[in-house]
Subunit: 344 residues, 2 copies
DNA sequence: CTCTCGAATACAAACGTTTGCATTCAATGT
DNA sequence: ACATTGAATGCAAACGTTTGTATTCGAGAG
């Protein structure tokens, strides 16, 4: 004697197109079109539909849209993060917070996918692209000929990158003027009389490192300082690696006294290496970093930095991706921002 | 003369239940049941179905499941984070990384929702619960009578908390033995001869702060030190607030020399306040913190800490939530972990 | 040989939406 | 007055899955 729950159940369930249509004596399709601002429906009916939909608390069910159109309303950010054995990256955290606020107020949500190596990155992108669970991707740490970007272009999947590429095909990006940032940082050290200035950066396969290198060399040149390859440290992401490498550089003979670093984590590693020196030696060292969060406000020794808010960057990236997914042309989604120098 | 794409299009599209069913001459429902290990289908057919599904590269399309069953395969973590004007929280970052690895290998994905205040937290939970876009929630920073938890229990929505509550109704949680952690930290300072030991914690409406307070007081008692209310700083989350508050505490008369802090961010704030003192005074200060990441390995002055990996915590929480969503009973999903003391 | 019964499988509806096409209807042109 | 047009709306299929119920089939009982 099982009885099927009918009207009572229906009553408590959220309003659907059907509900609204029935309430108006219209067909589902008309209601759907009305809510989409479709031209084929009268302004009068649209108004009525809007009103009733509102009254009934109708909210478009993304599940249905998803099944019908394939749109998932979910984005994915594949982000390079330091090895997880180390502490969490404050900069990455801010980027993520920014990404999240960037989708706030839209129907989109964003899933974060931290990875550690370049291979993992490509794998992740392929995997993410394969199962159609995302409408678009955010990528950081671009390379000049970025395989992942190439792959996404080929598969015609929407994405935006944090950092340019040197690919012929255009794509949306946000980039920092890294050359300028490195130039300003290096110049600051030159102006403070440092003669041996080290450049602590990830490997040059990342485009932003090449850009930075150019700025670094230009500042040296303008300051009349020679370029010395032994002052260049190309090290992977992560504080530990930086610490180890910088510790090596600090041998007494020809020790660098100025350090240009690419982010908070690397700076922390470099400083912590420097602290192995006797205090009077350590106090001669000076660090200037890129900076995307305000961590250096809490640092000792004070670290001047080239700041561009990663909160803003993330928000902008996510916003751009939403636009890209919704069809905004690429040319409108390419931006380069300059850093502001903060002296500490 | 538009011609509809037919077989060619179909061919390139991913395999569905229908594809598999047709390939086998079976019905869709049988295939579906076979793949679900339903008892009503023969082992023989199941094997065949499995084989063909494999060969055709069939992967269950979550969109269909979603529409049919309502399962979204998406979780949401509503996490309290420091005000975003400040730097990104390394601990939160690690928790997030952990949460993400916790869903790796499952069909679930997890969406992070950072919030700053208790009201925002409740709002976020209500909103998240309202639009049925998530199968379950992770909550941190629980309160003894947690309104959000109560709400979720009432709505019968699955969730797990990082931190216990004092509610009568049981729910899944992971908690740290916070009393023990604070006890160990305080005792360490007592043993080092500090007589004025400050407790720097978020407000006592958080349960973990109450637990910590108990440990703090016990250690004082055992050390024969009086409890002094003026040594207790109840301040909201965020380095800036901590810095300001601790700066006030550092007035010459009755200055605390030992500091028990609850996390990396607060410690950074406290230390940075301490640095306003003359170096010889600053060097008398000692800090002991809770620690969920390994940031203190890079700190000066050295900070001993009570460590429990937030990476592990996140992974465990996400794993528990997946289990909870899939029907594991609550009692199997309640854990309390102890910290390990790291002397630096 | 028929009937019953249980096991195995098939049918069909439902989830909520979008959209190509068909239908209706009134207005316009001849 | 009738064919033609265009605008407004409705119909129905489709997206991929799950699941209650119906159907088929073969075996065993009578």
């Amino acid at each position: 004697m099982a009885h099927k729950p009918r009207e009572p159940a229906r009553a408590s369930r959220p309003a659907t197109l059907k509900t609204v249509a029935e309430a108006l004596g219209l067909s589902i399709s008309t209601v759907s079109r009305a809510l989409q601002d479709d031209a084929s429906v009268t302004a009068r009916t649209r108004a009525k539909v809007m009103e009733v939909a509102e009254k009934l608390g109708y909210r478009r069910d993304l599940r249905g849209v998803n099944l019908r159109t394939g749109k998932t309303f979910t984005l994915c950010a594949v982000l390079v993060a330091p090895p997880s054995q180390e502490f969490g990256d404050p900069a990455a955290m801010h980027l993520i917070q920014g990404l999240i606020t960037g989708v706030e107020g839209t129907d989109f949500k964003i899933v974060i996918r931290p990875i550690e190596t370049a291979e993992q990155r490509f794998e992740a992108v392929k995997e993410v692209a394969a199962n159609n669970r995302f409408d678009g991707l955010v990528l950081d740490h671009t390379e000049p000929q970025d395989a992942a970007v190439l792959y996404l272009l080929e598969k015609n999947i929407k994405f935006v990158t944090f950092g340019r590429t040197e690919l012929f095909s255009e794509h949306p990006y946000l980039d920092i003027d890294n050359e300028d940032a490195a130039f300003v940082a290096t110049k600051h050290l030159v102006d403070h009389g440092h003669e041996r200035i080290a450049m602590i950066d990830p490997p040059a396969n990342y485009l932003f490192c090449r850009q930075r290198m150019r700025g670094y060399r230009r500042a040296l040149e303008e300051g009349g300082l020679p370029f010395d390859k032994s002052l260049i440290a190309e090290i992977g992401i992560g504080a530990r690696r930086v610490r180890e490498r910088v510790a090596q550089m600090l041998q007494p003979k020809a020790r660098p006294t100025g350090f240009v670093t690419s982010n908070e984590v690397a700076t922390l590693g470099a400083i912590s290496a420097g602290r192995m020196l006797p205090p009077e030696e350590f106090s001669k060292l000076q660090f200037v970093s890129r900076d995307g969060t305000n961590l250096f406000d809490y640092f000792e020794p004070p670290v001047s930095s080239c700041y561009y808010s990663l909160l803003d960057a993330g928000e902008f990236l996510a916003g751009s991706l939403v636009k890209a997914v919704e069809g905004t042309p690429i040319s409108a989604l390419q931006t380069i921002e300059r850093v502001t120098f903060i002296e500490r």
